[in-house]
Subunit: 121 residues, 2 copies
């Protein structure tokens, strides 16, 4: 059941995970969702993403695989995932220069999304 939670692709809030699980038959309390997320995050299977809209979101970590970041639209709130090798390279190069381990990193871009730009000016 804990597995069910992490099966969603995109990042979701704890509440969304709870609701989504409920819809597919598995009734879960919000407390259990948080408890499961805490465990999964500890195992490195889920990562917490903060998009500055009150409330964290969580998304599964693909074990050895792709790695993306998020762009959040300041107008509609839509979250767009993206990946960029040059960005990753820049961050990993930082490791040697900085006297700080880079166990994980997160990049958040804020601005208007393409959809809103097209819809308005």
């Amino acid at each position: 059941m804990v597995e069910t939670l992490a099966r969603q692709r995109c990042c979701m809030s704890a509440q969304e995970i709870c609701d989504a699980s409920a819809k597919r038959g598995g009734r879960v309390g919000i407390a259990s969702v948080y408890r499961a997320l805490e465990l999964l995050e500890g195992e490195g299977l889920v990562q917490r993403v903060e998009v500055g809209q009150g409330g964290a979101r969580y998304e599964p970590v693909v074990p050895g695989g792709e790695h993306h970041h998020h762009a959040v639209c300041e107008r509609c709130g839509r979250l767009t995932p993206f990946e960029d090798p040059a960005l990753e390279r820049a961050i990993h190069r930082l490791g040697s220069r900085l006297g700080h381990e880079i166990r994980a990193h997160d990049v958040l871009i804020k601005g208007e999304c393409g959809r809103c730009m097209r819809a308005r000016g």
Copy 2:
């Protein structure tokens, strides 16, 4: 007085700003701090930084000047600011590729800080 808040250099929590202001004579309620931060953030004079430790932090934005990001130590919680031109370049290049405006961006590095690495293994 609103100015007093943003005069601190590093990023602080709302509560820290409140306490710091109180110490230098200006008694401010936490509510006013949040109200001022909201305004200043709207004006682009202050930016909210989320380091995933429950509670946002805020720091003044140097108008045309330097721009840094943060590395947070997973062991001691210490926050280390850093800047990296290559990283900035990578992000700005992203702008053209991504169908998303880049009005602001944030990079957070998580890992053990130099001090902790030296103190332990």
